[in-house]
């Protein structure tokens, strides 16, 4: 038998079921009717089908009912039902169709009949199974799940279809399912109880099509008869659709389809298992359109700069805020007291760790990125740069499930560095065989260039400061629980040694210098990173009325990092010959090479703890309450130690030095809210959310410096000069909000709300700002009038408008003074000097954003497209405006002023598709595309240019753009074949040469699966375009005379001119030529993974095992002249610069994931 899923049979079965007329006492719901009515034997002579109750199947009589009158003789005792049915089929010579999902074939029955009608035999055999038997044709009988009694026939010549739509997985009614006659607009959405009624349906066979966003479309064939009501029961299955994602926002959790915003969601768990992810930056990078993650350096432990939808602020942080499990946490990488590793290093190190990367990526379940004010309005002040909402993993009911992973990897420096050149000639002062440049020749200091040598110690294995780095990652977690108590515990460790390594030659040199004393490991490998993280989350469920969750995350990490930029700089300005100082710079005050550069020991230790207690209370179905209380504590200690005698170069100004920078940040936050959901009418539901949030941060920072240490001393007591500075600040923000959402027919969501805020940085007399929001999400394809379009599965339109604020700095409005010490008349005195002029008229900054877009899915959701346009305008943008020099700037702090408007506009697309989906082969990909235009829209009169060297703010141009004086031309006036600085013409006015964030971004992640995804290949391409980068490492190299163009007489004149311009007198010395608008594509990662057969791993009590080979930063396509366009040695500011930071390393690793 039995082809229950055959479309033909299914259609016939369905048709047969649906032609049944209703009983006189039919109820409105066929389901309810079926469940609650007593035995319903209908005696109508025209009835072909009867409804049956759970205890007694009823078979039809009448036309063709003779089949059921055929006689069968059976004698079975405690046999499977399947045997009985088979025998009935055989003896009665009829076809029985049924689904094993409906008919429990293993149900055991006993039956004795002697020439009894089939009707009676089936009644007996199927008794109590809630099924019904239907005649279809002369020899076919189908057994289906019992339907409700048919309802009264509407008095019309057309027929009526009454039906219900159920969730197939739960058999609960599904409202708002659009049910209509296929190919027409005749239809209606299901009611709150899942029922629907279609009237005026022409007699005949129809296909009902049921669609709802979040469910897979379902079709059902019905036969409608004139003046009769046909019952239909449709079961639909939930679809794994993005729009069904649960998004966490300030007003609680909501489905994506209810929100008017584009929210980027990253499923962290699956990413971490299938890609090389060491930190949160890796997790976010290139996985969300409009979100830029710029890795600053290839050193291990280095943080990344994060920007969402471009730059919105002229001054202050452009970093988004971060919420973990409802708790506001420290994450700012760009500004503030407790952020900068290089404070202790005195600028010697440029690769600080990021507080964002303290968070263990292995503990995260999802990351939702709210990109702008329209999405983040209810987060209020500080949310204008976006909000990153992180949800950590939670337990699921069931036995303990263990997961463990171990990863081993290596890192290699694959970047090729430009050679360092030196010209040799006869110097007027030093005689023959002296270093000479073309400019020396032009100026008469040398008679000519006799020969040119070139070498770069970075590229030669004998002198290279790069070795093979290693990384070890391990982790384990366990989760499980009961319906009452759920738990998740996890932990991970990382131990990485970066590629920086002291070359053997330098080791030997150092050992000689130190009389054979051993060289410590931290000096041999000066870049290392260790991290330990643990996460716990326990949830207690109190039935359906509430739950309480306690979660905590603890992290400790240590970074050892010094001299990454310096070591490259000293190589790029090298001697040009392996014979001279092994190619390292020999023209500085003293020689500078790894033996010297790795002398200072720079460390950064961070201990981090985040705890939260959150509860949900559901006293009624229409009322829910929630609250979260949490704290984040980040303690950071940075140290620089340089032993007296180890710094022959006086690199750090003085020999013997110790700096210690201790800082800690505590953030306490509370978030309380409640939601009231009430039906207003049959089609309108009201959801009202009220809540409040409070955040209070305390930041301490202390910098102690000792210079001129006694020989062998390590303590500050022994320092000749000691100084200390201390800072402490508190910032508090409190706000409450109200949000009202009208849900119309479960397909149109209209939301309005506002937040009222108060912040400690606001002026005391400033009114508390109110941030409004409006949004709409419309499931257009669910509307009855929407035409059926082949291949189109769903169409949602969305729009949102909202405001958010930015707090001024804590003291922006007031005049402040700096306490300190001074030396007056031969005595040390305590002093107070003007620090900031203050601005009594300072207003808070306010950002307004509109975004609109559409989510479209095709081919049964195998292709989805999210398209978004946004326009964000920041008014009263606060800028640290430099006061005139006549107030003493730059020796005063910038004065905060409301200077103008900043506009960001852009488009974002995310396309996910599964072009191939078979068991043998599957292919899916995600393509992210985004474009951003950033512009200073207006500037208040009288502000003039906001300048910080080459970083400028001009109306009509991007913020923090880089500006340079252009090279207008050159002329070899004296015909000596050399372009001297005075032969280069440089413009009087600066011109725009580049912007600090990319104009365009794209990422393309492809995943190929074979053999049911047992074998999987995943690769990600990452593209950024239109980024203004300045190759300052080359500028410094060429300015120092180490470029080929500075020593080689055959160098084309235009290249000579570019370099000669560097030596023009200030302010006409311009690196114009070295500013580049770069675009690059990086093969960010490739992963090959294989799921080991269960038959194999189960022998060792393992339930799953996947082994992965991963590569990271495997290839780079770029025209950039420097080593790596992604390097930024200025990570704390808006504009970027490459001063010779460590390029990205190429990493390979093997990872084993085990499940128990």
């Amino acid at each position: 038998m039995k082809i229950p899923h055959s479309p033909i049979v299914a259609a016939l079965v369905t048709a047969a079921i649906l032609v049944a007329p209703p009983p006189a006492s039919a109820q409105s719901s066929p389901l309810v009717g079926a469940a609650e009515s007593p035995v319903a034997t209908v005696a109508s002579p025209v009835t072909m089908t009867v409804a049956v109750n759970r205890s007694l199947p009823v078979v039809p009589r009448g036309l063709s009912a003779a089949i059921l009158d055929r006689l069968v003789t059976l004698s079975f005792a405690n046999v499977p039902l399947s045997e009985v049915l088979a025998e009935v089929e055989r003896q009665a010579r009829l076809g029985l169709s049924y689904s094993p999902n409906v008919v429990p074939l293993q149900h055991r029955v006993s039956i004795q009949s002697n020439a009894a009608p089939v009707r009676n035999v089936l009644e007996l055999a199927l008794q109590g199974l809630n099924v019904q038997v239907t005649m279809v044709g002369n020899d076919q009988v189908v057994i289906t799940r019992a339907e409700a009694p048919a309802k009264a026939v509407v008095d019309t010549t057309d027929g009526v279809i009454d039906g219900v739509v159920l969730d197939k997985s739960t058999l609960t009614p599904v409202p708002a399912v659009l049910v209509r006659l296929d190919g027409t607009t005749h239809g209606m959405p299901t009611r709150a109880d899942g029922t629907f009624r279609l009237t005026n349906v022409a007699p005949g066979t129809h296909v009902l099509r049921a669609t709802r966003l979040g469910f897979q479309p379902e079709e059902k064939t019905v036969i409608v008869q004139a003046n009769r009501t046909t019952n239909a029961r449709i079961e639909i299955s939930p679809a794994p659709l993005r729009m069904n994602d649960i998004i966490t926002t300030s007003s609680g959790t909501q489905k994506r389809l209810e929100l008017g915003n584009s929210i980027a969601t990253i499923s962290a768990d699956s990413v971490v298992k299938n890609a090389p992810v060491r930190n949160l930056s890796d997790l976010i990078a290139a996985r969300a359109p409009g979100v830029e993650v710029m890795t600053t350096s290839g050193t291990v432990g280095a943080g990344s700069r994060l920007r969402v939808r471009g730059l919105g602020r002229i001054s202050g942080s452009n970093d988004p805020i971060v919420i973990i499990d409802g708790v506001r946490v420290e994450s700012d990488f760009s500004s503030g007291l407790n952020k900068q590793f290089n404070k202790a290093s005195g600028g010697f190190s440029t690769s600080a760790s990021s507080r964002l990367d303290d968070i263990d990526p292995n503990s995260i379940e999802t990351i939702d990125i709210l990109k702008g004010p329209s999405a983040a309005t209810l987060y209020g002040s500080d949310a204008a740069n976006g909000v990153i909402v992180i949800t950590t993993k939670r337990g699921k009911a069931g036995p303990a499930r263990w997961n463990a992973f171990s990863e081993r990897g290596i890192m290699q420096m694959k970047a090729k560095f430009t050679e360092s050149y030196r010209g040799w000639g006869t110097s007027a002062v030093n005689g023959p065989d002296s270093p000479c440049t073309l400019l020396d020749v032009a100026a008469g200091r040398c008679t000519g260039i006799d020969s040119v040598s070139h070498f770069n110690p970075l590229n030669d294995s004998r002198t290279s400061p790069f070795g093979t780095g290693t990384t070890f990652l391990n982790g384990v977690d366990v989760s499980g629980g009961t319906d009452h108590l759920l738990y998740y515990f996890g932990g991970s460790t990382e131990n990485s040694v970066g590629v920086l390594k002291m070359p053997d030659k330098d080791l030997e040199m150092l050992q000689v210098r130190r009389n054979g004393a051993p060289i410590p490991e931290w000096q041999r490998r000066p870049n290392q990173f260790d991290k330990q993280a643990g996460t716990a989350r326990v949830t207690a469920n109190f039935g359906n009325t509430g739950d309480l969750t306690f979660s905590t995350a603890l992290t400790h990490q240590s970074q050892l990092n010094m001299a990454d930029a310096a070591v490259i700089g000293q190589a790029l300005q090298g001697s040009g010959s392996s014979e001279i100082n092994d190619g390292w710079n020999d023209q500085a005050t003293s020689t500078t090479r790894p033996a010297d550069l790795f002398a200072p020991r720079g460390t950064s230790d961070v201990t981090r703890g985040i705890v939260s207690l959150s509860g949900n209370w559901r006293p009624f179905t229409w009322l829910t309450g929630r609250s979260t209380f949490g704290a984040d504590y980040a303690d950071r200690t940075d140290e620089l130690y340089l032993r007296t005698g180890d710094d022959p170069l006086a690199l750090l100004g003085q020999d013997g030095k110790r700096n210690r920078n201790e800082g800690n940040t505590k953030i306490y936050s509370a978030d309380i809210g409640g939601t009231l959901t009430l039906p207003v009418t049959n089609f309108l539901t009201s959801r009202t959310t009220v809540g409040g949030q409070y955040t209070h941060s305390f930041t301490k920072d202390m910098l102690v410096q000792g210079t001129g240490l006694s020989v062998g001393a390590t303590t500050f007591n022994s320092a000749r000069i000691r100084s200390m500075s201390e800072a402490f600040e508190q910032i508090a923000t409190a706000g409450w909000y109200l949000e009202e959402t009208g849900i119309i027919n479960e397909r149109l969501y209209l939301t309005a709300g506002f937040r009222r805020d108060r912040g400690s940085a606001f002026g005391k007399n400033a009114p508390a700002p109110i941030y409004p929001k409006l949004s709409a999400s419309w499931l257009l394809s669910q509307e009855p009038f929407f035409p059926r379009i082949t291949s189109l599965s769903n169409l949602r339109l969305r729009a949102a408008y909202g405001h958010a604020g930015v707090q001024p700095t804590t003291t922006g409005a007031i005049r402040t003074y700096t306490p300190g010490t001074g030396f007056v008349d031969g005595e040390q005195v305590t002093t107070s000097i003007l620090n900031s002029l203050g601005n009594a008229d300072l207003k808070p900054e306010r950002s307004t954003e509109f975004e609109g877009g559409a989510d479209i899915s095709f081919l049964d959701d195998r292709v989805t497209v999210e398209a978004t346009y946004y326009r964000k305008l920041s008014k009263d943008a606060i800028a640290g405006h430099s006061p005139p020099n006549s107030f003493g700037y730059p020796y005063l702090t910038s004065r905060q002023e409301n200077v103008g408007e900043v506009l960001n506009t852009g488009t974002e697309f995310q396309i996910t598709a599964q072009p191939v989906a078979s068991h043998l082969v599957s292919w899916d990909f995600t393509l992210n595309l985004s474009k951003n235009r950033n512009e200073l829209k207006s500037l208040a009169p009288g502000m003039g240019l906001l300048r910080n060297g080459q970083e400028q703010y001009e109306v009509g141009y991007p913020l923090s753009g880089r500006w340079e004086r252009p090279i207008l031309g050159y002329n070899d006036a004296n015909k000596d074949g050399i372009i001297a600085p005075e032969e280069v013409t440089v413009g009087d006015s600066m011109v725009f040469v580049g912007q600090p964030v990319p104009k365009r971004q794209a990422s393309w992640t492809n995943s190929l699966g074979f053999l049911g995804n047992r074998f999987r290949v995943t690769a990600m391409l990452d593209y950024q375009g239109g980024l203004g980068q300045v190759d300052m490492a080359t500028v410094q190299r060429c300015y120092g005379g180490h470029c080929q163009a500075t020593v080689d007489p055959s160098t084309p004149l235009d290249q000579q001119a570019a370099i000669a311009a560097l030596s023009k007198p200030y302010p006409y010395n311009t690196p114009y030529y070295f500013n580049q608008t770069v675009s690059w594509t990086r093969l960010r990662n490739v992963t090959l993974s294989y799921e080991l057969p269960l038959s194999l791993v189960s022998r060792v009590n393992v339930s799953s095992a996947r082994i992965s080979l991963m590569g990271q930063n495997l290839w780079l396509w770029s025209q950039y002249s420097g080593a790596d366009p992604e390097v930024n040695t200025n990570p704390y500011r808006n504009y970027i610069i490459d001063q010779g930071g460590l390029p990205m390393t190429r990493n390979y690793s093997v990872r084993l994931n085990l499940g128990f």
């Binding site: 009430l678 003074y817 040390q828 003007l834 009594a840 003493g888």
Partner: protein, 440 residues
């Protein structure tokens, strides 16, 4: 529960939220950061004294220099003594520099020097306000000294910068006053007024502030070509008096201001710079001694021996020797033959200096007088003002007094006799449009 009662509950929730919102301010009252002081904290006698000390400290910094902005290492030529000497013939740089070369087409060369003087000026004004209001019983010399320093700052500004220098003020109640450009003459008048104010409480006193104020008057009159009044003011100052600026490498905050080891990593005392320069080094004059410290770009770097790299250093802002020189200049202007005696009396104070003889012509006498001034006052910020006076008061062409001819890298010396206050002033101060007169 009915819909009605549910609605009432909802309204109650909203009302609760609204009430909470009304009291948000109390939740966000937090202490101010501890690393800065707000005006409230300084509104005491001790606070006013601390501001007084801060203003004096800033004056020292204006003399000794400041650290490079933007967190850069090293020291910039951000002090008036160095900057004036670089423009004149006292210092030179191994690399091309627009001040050294006397080119300032963009008017930006004073971008570091001017603010370091301005911040001392503005802090002095703030300290005066606070002393008067919150420390009325503080010694009168405190306020007087601040006026004295303001006078010297204005005087040095008048000598170093092109005509049209704005003096801004941080006024009370958080307001600011953007300065309007003052001509060279106006600045001198202003300086004189500050010296008069400083001197007013002292009458005939011979205390430090009073003597320094009289010297200031003398300098101001000298700049105004009122030699008689200059000599009269100078005559009340003993030769051995000196009003000094001090710094110490043993006090971190002061040591950061100026590090000779850092400065003379990029600058050097000069010798016969640009044809007209004096042979400070090669003359072997015992009044100026130098130490060769390094070689940069094939140029030997000489550091004034007196500018020690560590410990305490005192350099005279103004002193009694200048008082005698001013008297000599007055006598010379009167054709009084004793002018040379004044010079020779001074030379007896240093072993190895032979008496001078009258060169015989008016021009040569002026040359001799100014040469004596140059050696006596080397490195104290006087030379620039003197060269400018030679042009303005003695009608010497600038090409006869300032360095000229071939500069480094194939460039030529320019023609400027002063520097601009910085382009940023044009951008940020609507009252300032640039130099109003670039003549000496």
């Amino acid at each position: 529960m009915t819909i009605h009662s549910i609605r009432r509950a909802a309204l109650a929730i909203v009302a609760t939220g609204a009430m909470a919102g009304c009291s948000l301010g109390s939740l966000t009252d937090v202490p101010r950061p501890s690393n800065i002081l707000d005006p409230d904290a300084l509104q005491t006698s001790d606070g006013a004294i601390a501001m007084y000390n801060g203003a004096l400290s800033e004056f020292n910094r204006a003399f000794f220099g400041g650290q490079q902005q933007n967190g850069g290492s090293g020291v910039i030529p951000g002090n008036f003594a160095m900057a004036g000497g670089i423009l004149a013939d006292e210092y030179t740089l191994p690399s091309a520099d627009d001040i050294d070369q006397r080119t300032d087409a963009a008017g930006v060369s004073g971008q570091y020097t001017f603010p370091i003087m301005a911040v001392a000026y503005v802090n002095s004004g703030q300290a005066i306000q606070y002393l008067r209001q919150y420390a009325p019983n503080a010694p009168v010399a405190y306020t007087a000294r601040l006026h004295l320093n303001r006078g010297y700052l204005a005087l040095f500004m008048s000598e170093l910068f092109c005509s049209g220098v704005p003096l801004s003020e941080a006024a009370e109640a958080g307001k600011v006053i953007y300065g309007s450009p003052l001509s060279t003459a106006e600045l001198q008048q202003y300086a004189l007024a500050q010296f008069d104010t400083a001197l007013a409480p002292f009458g005939a006193d011979t205390g430090k502030v009073a003597l320094a104020a009289r010297l200031g008057q003398a300098r101001a009159y000298l700049g105004m070509k009122q030699y008689d009044k200059a000599a009269a003011a100078a005559g009340k100052v003993p030769t051995n008096f000196s009003y000094d600026a001090t710094y110490s490498t043993n006090v971190a905050s002061a040591a950061g201001y100026f590090q000779p080891g850092g400065v003379f990593a990029w600058a050097s005392s000069s010798d016969n710079e640009g044809v007209n320069g004096l042979p400070y080094i090669s003359s072997g004059d015992p009044r100026v001694k130098f130490t060769k410290v390094s070689n940069i770009n094939q140029m030997d770097i000489y550091q004034p021996t007196a500018w020690r790299s560590s410990g305490n250093l005192t350099i005279s802002v103004e002193n009694g020797i200048d008082a005698r020189l001013i008297e000599a200049e007055y006598l010379l202007s009167q054709g009084n033959a004793t002018w040379l005696d004044k010079l020779n009396e001074l030379r007896t104070r240093v072993t190895g200096l032979a008496p001078l003889t009258d060169p015989g012509t008016p021009a040569a006498r002026v040359d001799l007088l100014f040469r004596e001034r140059a050696f006596w006052l080397y490195g104290t910020g006087h030379r620039q003002g003197d060269l400018r006076r030679l042009v303005r008061q003695y009608q010497r062409p600038q090409s006869d007094v300032y360095p000229k001819g071939t500069y480094k890298g194939g460039f030529l010396y320019g023609t400027y006799t002063n520097i601009g206050v910085g382009l940023h002033e044009v951008e940020a101060n609507a009252n300032y449009k640039g130099c109003i007169d670039r003549e000496a």
